[in-house]
Amino acid sequence: MKRILVSVAAITAMVLSLSLPTVNHARAVADGQKASDDKSQVKIDNFSFVPATLTVTAGSTVTWVNQDDVPHNIVSSEGKTLKSPVLDTDQKFSYTFDRPGTYEYFCGIHPRMIGKIIVQASGDRN
């Protein structure tokens, strides 16, 4: 039993070390399912959400990462779906979109920064 645990840990570590370099190179992973995490990332850079419009399938978790030298946050333009804490440099915020729809949001600190998450039903996938 102990040996199995050890080998599971070893494999996990291997998988982690293999997957780490791919984080910023979504295209390199091509069509693999693992790429979905990378594709669900919104970078906050130069006072912009990149990409400004992101399309994901229902159930996807979108992660915002702040790469600016100033704090930003993510707040729904209408309604209360999204309300992140303030993200300082390199901090992240994730939200899982279970229901299809269009989710518009902005930075509550710098309201000119706007973005949109389009969530498609799982069956809509191309």
Binding site: F47, P85, Y105, F106, I109, P111, R112
Partner: protein
């Protein structure tokens, strides 16, 4: 063709007289405050870094002098200025070295960088060393993070309305502190809101048109560069209430650089930061903190004098004459 690093901005498409060199001169204000003197109802501002300008601006007895400082961003620790405490201290030293005693300080917001209690505490402590006895604040967007301004109001809102805006009179001048960093809307700019606008209309209703007015708020109350959020959506309504007054001065922060303009009877003035410079509108991909070599940031202190420009109807960014 080889291009020198310092020639990155080759042309001045705005024809505003500000080329890269002029802009660097404006940057020299980083870490200083501006001294404001009201003479005959007209406000003039002087760089605290320019003793000659200060001497010229020394208030005679009976005249009013005060200091505007802005955007101390306590807690900011990135490359553009890893030690914002030190530069705030420099500003206080300049205040204390000035030949005349300012009667109070106006801080036009972004006191803190992340609205942390210890950030506000530090600013309070450093500013206590200034020889001006009292500091009047308005909040910046960095001071109201996460709690819609509750902490800010608890600390600085005593004597203000529940929304944080207030007015006071000093030596015949009517001062109005406005809040334009709350209840911001997606895609929008700074916002005063209907409640505050109604208060403002009522606040100035009984005043004689000859009363000098000084309005201060964090985000500029004039449209400087909306693409970067440098303006306030409903400022025109606020300014309309002030049109009948002979002398109105609007003091703002937020953009970390000096810009001035006179429109009719209203003079607009933005202050530099004590923490870090920001780029000239449109000259960079974003308004983020502008990195300059550390020795340059400090050595640029104490170089510029700025005069309030009267009668100019175009956007007047002061191309300072370096002493």
């Amino acid at each position: 063709m080889r291009r020198k690093k310092e020639d990155l901005i080759l042309h001045n498409h705005n024809h505003d007289g500000v080329d890269r060199r002029g802009f660097l001169k404006c940057m020299a204000w980083a870490g200083t405050g501006a001294l404001c003197v009201v003479k005959g109802g007209i406000l003039r501002s002087y760089s605290l870094s320019d003793p000659a300008g200060l001497a010229a601006g020394a208030a005679n007895p009976g005249e009013l002098s005060f200091i505007q400082i802005s955007d101390s961003h306590m807690g900011f620790d990135k490359a553009a200025n890893p030690d914002v405490v030190a530069t705030l201290r420099v500003a206080v030293e300049k205040i204390n070295a000035a030949p005349m005693r300012p009667e109070f300080l106006l801080h036009t917001g972004d006191i803190s960088h992340l609205s942390k209690p210890e950030e506000f505490d530090t600013v309070d402590q450093v500013l206590k060393e200034a020889k001006a006895s009292h500091v009047f604040y308005v909040p910046g967007e960095h001071d109201v993070l996460g709690d819609d301004g509750k902490q800010y109001l608890d600390r600085y809102g005593k004597g203000a309305t529940s929304g944080g805006w207030y007015s006071f009179d000093h030596k015949g001048v009517h001062f109005i502190g406005l809040v334009n960093v709350l209840n911001l809307k997606a895609g929008g700019l700074g916002s005063l809101g209907q409640e505050q606008l109604e208060w403002l209309e009522d606040n100035v209703k009984g005043l004689s048109a000859s009363t000098p007015i000084v309005v201060f708020a964090h985000i500029p109350l004039w449209s400087i560069y909306p693409d970067w959020g440098w303006g306030t959506d409903d400022s025109a309504q606020a300014l309309a209430y002030l049109k009948r007054f002979g002398s109105v001065t609007v003091l703002n922060g937020h953009i970390h650089q000096i810009m001035q303009k006179v429109e009719g009877n209203i003079a607009f003035h933005t202050a530099t930061s004590t923490a870090f410079p920001q780029p000239h509108p449109g000259s960079a991909p974003s308004p983020g903190p502008m990195k300059v070599p550390a020795d340059q940031l400090r050595s640029l202190l104490g170089l510029t004098s700025v005069e309030y420009v009267e009668g100019k109807h175009s956007l007047a960014i002061v191309d300072s004459s370096l002493a």
